[in-house]
């Protein structure tokens, strides 16, 4: 293996897959990150219902918004963690030395973050159904699709900004400061799409919102893919 590394660079996708597998393996060994995330996100969801009082109609109506806010807050933790892990033993330097396109690091990391956030979504879903008393009107497959694209839309800019803020001063302030406004358009469309799936879609506008969300994801991923080598270069 190491011999072939030295001889020729391995393919972009393959390298990305290896990095993704490595991240997931590290996560699987301790499961510390996902546990913390789930706890944090569930606490956020509960806090929303405590703060707003026992108004079931209100909670049900805004369930999608609360859920995505919970996911967004939790994902900030997850994203900064994904680069802190690398910084601890200077393994990011090691990744940079691997004779492959640095974009592979972006693809691997961003996919890893997306998987992470999506796992969080899936765990959060039954919790949300229980405490906000929502039913899934349009079916689970559609809902998972919306959730998956939403996670993709968060993870690409999240990975870029996490890589940037990991090395800056005051990184805990900087990541949300950069990420949240950037995500507003995507957040808006994913919340709307989720709400339509949860409450039924009479005007057939789900496809529009989903299309908008896909477009934002594509933009974020393409831009992130293009600029990431600049972010981690020295």
């Amino acid at each position: 293996m190491s011999a072939s590394f030295a001889i020729r660079p391995i393919g972009l996708l393959r390298a990305a897959g290896i990095i993704l597998g490595k991240d997931l393996l590290i996560e699987w060994r301790t499961r510390a990150r996902i546990n913390a995330l789930v706890f944090f996100a569930v606490a956020t969801l509960l806090l929303f219902s405590f703060a707003l009082g026992p108004d079931v109609d209100l909670l049900r109506q805004n369930a999608a918004g609360y859920m995505w806010l919970g996911i967004l807050f939790a994902s900030v933790l997850s994203l900064s963690e994904s680069f802190r892990v690398e910084a601890e033993n200077a393994t990011l330097e090691g990744l940079k030395l691997v004779p492959t396109d640095p974009r592979a690091v972006f693809l691997g990391k961003a996919c890893g973050n997306a998987v992470m956030i999506f796992a969080l979504c899936l765990i959060l879903l039954p919790v949300m159904v229980a405490i906000y008393d929502v039913s899934i009107a349009e079916g689970l497959p559609k809902l998972s699709l919306v959730l998956a694209i939403g996670c993709l839309a968060i993870s690409a800019p999240g990975t870029i900004f996490a890589a940037i803020s990991a090395n800056a001063r005051a990184r805990d302030v900087l990541l949300p400061l950069l990420l949240f406004p950037m995500l507003v358009p995507a957040l808006l469309s994913v919340v709307k799409a989720t709400a339509l799936v949860l409450q039924g879609d009479l005007q057939d506008s789900l496809r529009s919102w989903l299309g908008l969300l896909c477009c934002f994801s594509v933009i974020y991923w393409a831009l992130g893919f293009a600029v990431f080598p600049k972010v981690i270069e020295d």
């Binding site: 005007q203 506008s205 496809r207 529009s208 477009c215 934002f216 594509v218 393409a222 831009l223 293009a226």
Partner: protein, 156 residues
């Protein structure tokens, strides 16, 4: 391909994809359904589901439909899809004093709820000005517009 050229190629493709997605948002059809407000016909098409939640309704004030309360503190009117008299319309009961520009035939956006008797109760009324700017007609001056305006307002 040299690594540098390949790099630039990947970069160009990625940027093109991003620009393409942005252009699709711009010129694709997806914007059509993303509404900030509903027109009366769109709201009526919702049927039962329109009762209850807070809705934004936009359209024109149907000419001849404005009824003021005695103190002019609230107003009832019909919001219609367009200026045509046969277009769909909804009765709006607005408890807020409308802005000065409010009049028959002007575009408005009201925020409120539709109740079961098909009356739209609103606490927030916004007047929508078009992008047309014209001076007053010959011989008219803003100073002459006042109806029963008091001296204080006139001096402004």
């Amino acid at each position: 391909m040299t690594p540098g050229a390949r790099n630039r190629f990947i970069l160009a493709v990625a940027l093109l994809v991003a620009a393409g997605a942005l252009a699709f948002i711009a010129f694709g059809d997806i914007g059509k359904n993303l509404v900030y407000y509903w027109s009366p016909s769109e709201m009526l098409a919702q049927g039962e589901r329109a009762f209850g939640p807070t809705i934004r309704l936009g359209g024109v004030v149907q000419p001849g439909s404005v009824e003021w309360s005695a103190q002019k503190t609230s107003v009832k009117f019909r919001v219609a899809d367009s200026h045509k008299s046969e277009s769909a319309s909804v009765v709006v009961h607005c408890e807020q004093t409308p802005p000065q520009m409010f009049r028959e035939g002007i575009g408005v956006v009201v925020e409120g709820t539709l109740d079961k008797s098909q009356v739209f109760k609103s606490k927030r009324l916004m007047v929508n000005h078009s992008n047309e700017y014209r001076p007053p007609k010959e011989g008219e001056k803003p100073a002459d517009w006042k109806g029963s305006v008091s001296e204080a307002a006139e001096q402004k």
